[in-house]
Subunit: 204 residues, 4 copies
DNA sequence: AATGAATGAGCCTTCATTCAT
DNA sequence: TATGAATGAAGGCTCATTCAT
């Protein structure tokens, strides 16, 4: 295998997807700072350190970028929540997650974006449907994990019961995301105390 | 008394604040439908059935309207939450409230607007501070009510304990607002079941 | 009748349609100078001595302006051709018309625009249909006139024969329009000689 | 003889002019479909199945391509018209030619392009001059042929008389080209009838 | 108080052209 | 020779805001 052309296609693909990533990262930052609508393509180009025109080689339109960011965000959120599950120290994990949200950890969902895209879903059906689908996935993840956890602790949880708990957990955690946006300097202890209060009834 | 100016001061004031209200109602509708940024002054003028120029006699700028809407929204939210307190059937009240949110009841807070302005608070310090202040008020309301309720049932609740519960309730209820936006056709029963699950530990 | 408000509606309408006219005249000039595509909205605004944004109060888009210009042009062409008919000195009239075309008389059809919009009709079905309809009208006008003329001179002309002559006249005259574009300094005599040669067989 | 460079000069030249042709064919198609201005270099590159950058090795600019296309078109038109001359069945030949124009025969002049470039000649002096020169050639061809034809039929035709007839024929035939563009579904019979009517006075 | 015409900055997007590879 | 990524200058259009009436 000739190395000089064996990985050419890969290289080409890498370049393109690296550029896409570069643009998406820049866009994410701009959207966080100014909102989807107020962030201009020029500002994204600036942040990505490329020319404005070049963006259109990688994305059809600003809207396509917004969509891509939203999908990323949904994936990040799913991952964030998946990261809660494994252990036993559930409350502690949530505290950490909220702290990352508040800190603006670039690898986690951004809560302000999360709110804005939720509002957007109200007006744009395509986005609305994507959100709906993602929410159902998340709830399913949660319910599944709760039943496993129940099993592990020797009890059982009916499907519907698991779903109600998952729903409630979702409300609680997203409510925390909202708090993280509106009161960015709330302390970890407050979050921890709230979790200590609410979780016992929700977890099997 | 000269009839032509007898009640002018009052009339003028009435007229002016009626106009302001007219504009704010129109703006609210436009903001709900298109978002703060995408709603144009022209569309607001249209909805208010006045000319675009006239708006500037009552508001300095579009931003001033947004601010006014946000303040209204915050008041509505406080009222919404105050309406929860009085009775004993707290869960039922929440279900009703969420139903009104989902239905787009014009006299209640609009949840999509609530999300969007929360995101906006991230970028505009003036808004951020207004939200912070409102949240503290709400939490105070909640805590006070919880302590009264505790007293009424013969127990006591420390200040800090009341605050934690208030915080948790806030997360839960705002989480429900978010759900109302993202899953507008969730049933009342799901909300009721979630409340039945979560409230017992939170209420004294 | 109070004169100060009796003609207000008229005044209002006048203003708007005066502005539309102002814009169309400017657009016509720009289109003649640069072509439909190459003329910019900014150049039209400049020529009309108004701001670029204002144009959009009177026209939906650049395309709407092009359409309006084309319709105007078609009307002008029909009028140009109608002006040929009345007299007996048909050849002379044609010579005059071609002279006006060559001179760029603002009240007559502009032959360069005529060519460009004919080409455009190939690509834009809306324009294509408008042209087709206008051409049929013109041919009808011509045929009707030929039959009247025949009658007046004591002969008759069948419908189909009149149509063929009308078609031939159309080709000849439009061919002259093309010549006016491509050889703007051809002399009147050449046109007159050509007409003297061709018309006898075509006119009854 | 070293096979690797034996026929290089020829090959290179062939290659280069083949590429030029390839590009011009693609450009012609694009120009017909979208017009000179609206056709993009990218679309031409696509149609030619080469990269956009490569075009610039063979042509200095888009304008150079337009110029080349126009020159080609003028040659095609001259050939089209030359093809009319040889026989006696002149009318029939014209009918055939118009049919080819309407059908978009790739080897004949394209009438929509013909119109567009005529309009362009109004604005770009270089093009205007090229058109003028071509028209004079065509008229000369025509006049020469008319005189030969006269001779053959035993009469004579003065230079100026031949020129007037040539001019008139040109108008008629170009008028037909215009008709071919604007009424693409006119029947051959109509064209034939028109020719039967008009030609007798024009041909010796 | 009220209108709506007018402005002009700024936005998204396209495209001819260049250049490193 | 050939590619296609990259640029940057326009271009069409929208919109908050102002102002003469």
């Amino acid at each position: 295998m000739n190395p000089s052309d064996s990985d050419k296609p890969v290289a080409v693909h890498d370049r393109a997807s690296a550029q896409r990533d570069r643009i998406l990262n820049a866009a994410r930052q701009c959207f966080i700072e100014h909102g989807f609508h107020a962030a201009s393509m020029a500002s994204i180009a600036d942040a990505a350190d490329i020319s404005a025109g070049l963006i259109y080689r990688y994305f059809d339109s600003k809207n396509a970028i917004i969509l891509a960011i939203i999908e990323r965000q949904l994936a990040e959120k799913r991952a964030d929540i998946a990261s809660l599950a494994p252990g036993i120290d559930f409350a502690e994990r949530i505290v950490e997650l909220v702290a990352r949200w508040r800190a603006g950890d670039a690898r986690a969902m951004n809560p302000a974006l999360f709110l804005e895209m939720s509002a957007l879903g109200t007006r744009d059906p395509q986005i609305g449907n994507a959100l709906l689908a993602a929410d159902r996935l998340t709830r399913g993840d949660f319910a599944r994990w709760l039943r496993q956890r129940a099993e592990r602790s020797g009890t059982t949880l009916s499907d519907s019961e698991a779903t109600v708990r998952a729903f409630t957990l979702q409300c609680l955690i997203e409510g925390l995301a909202l708090r993280a946006v509106r009161e960015p300097d709330i302390g970890d202890e407050q979050v921890a105390a709230a979790m200590a209060l609410a979780l016992p009834t929700l977890l099997p």
